[in-house]
């Protein structure tokens, strides 16, 4: 039987004293970050975000994902029961490796963003072979 997984959306924070211009809730999306040999893959759950409303910015080594959600207009209906809130998504990461900014790839499928950040040539890990010297 499937184990019960509890879910709740966490609201994203704002810098101290700052307010958002749009009076809407902003949530922190759940992400997976996988480091591979030549790239870093960021997978983020952004349900309700259209690819047109997604902003991905990389400034120095700060990666910001912002997804805007257009709320469905259900004027004829009223919310009878609610377990989750609808709002935008925002998350910022600092990347440790130098990323090749020109080759970043982003794809959206079924509300999931997949961001492939290739490592810059200089940042790729080089394996240093240790050779054993013949003992005298």
């Amino acid at each position: 039987m499937a184990e019960i997984k509890e879910v709740s959306k966490k609201e994203a924070g704002t810098p101290q004293g700052a307010e958002r211009t749009r009076p809407q809730k902003v949530y922190t999306p759940d992400v997976d970050i996988l480091e591979r040999k030549d790239d870093i893959v960021v997978t983020a759950d952004l349900p309700g975000v259209d690819e047109k409303n997604l902003d991905i910015t990389l400034e120095k080594n700060m990666l910001t994902i912002y997804g805007r959600v257009e709320a469905d207009s259900l004027r004829m209906h009223r919310l009878a029961y609610s377990e989750y809130g609808v709002g935008d998504y925002q998350r910022t990461f600092t990347l440790s490796d130098e990323v090749d900014k020109d080759r970043i790839q982003a794809t959206m499928k079924n509300g999931v963003l997949r961001l492939v950040l290739p490592k810059a040539e200089g940042a790729k890990t080089r394996k240093i072979l240790v050779s054993a010297e013949a003992e005298a």
Partner: protein, 143 residues
């Protein structure tokens, strides 16, 4: 005065109120519990309900929706991408596994008119009330 009375009467027969009460009562029994995956919202108007659920990364064809009388069950699963050799996860927050979620409505659902749409990882399920279940208006004849 008359209107407030009517309003009170109206809310008394409103089945959604009882659903809300039920859910509140249930919430009281399990304090501070987060909802099960997936979290659902239920929107209502007089004759139908709209259930929305956030199912990012789930293939809409793999979502199993079954109806029995007053309840609807959603079933699906999401497979993890396991790290291969030489790969490592920095973070792993996304949800994986199987889920099964049943939502009870306060009326019998008209199975033939159910509409399910899936866009951008959000499921929209329209569940109309069965025709024979709808309240009937009775005209009063005067002699």
């Amino acid at each position: 005065m008359l209107w407030t009375e009517l309003d009170r009467m109206g809310s008394f027969i409103d089945p959604w109120r009882s659903l809300e009460r039920l859910n509140r009562a249930a919430a009281g029994l399990v304090p501070a519990a987060a909802p099960e995956f997936p979290a659902v919202n239920v929107w209502a108007d007089g004759d139908s309900a709209m259930v929305t659920a956030e199912l990012p990364g789930i293939d809409p064809k793999a979502v199993d929706i079954s109806l029995t009388g007053k309840s609807v069950t959603l079933r699906a699963s999401r497979q993890p991408d396991d790290a291969k050799d030489g790969e490592s996860y920095h973070r792993r927050e996304r949800w994986y596994g199987q889920f099964s979620r049943t939502i009870d409505l306060p009326y019998v659902i008209d199975a033939a008119k159910v509409d399910a749409r899936f866009s951008r990882g959000v499921l929209h399920l329209t569940l109309p009330r069965a025709e024979e279940e709808k309240p009937k208006k009775i005209a009063i004849k005067t002699e």
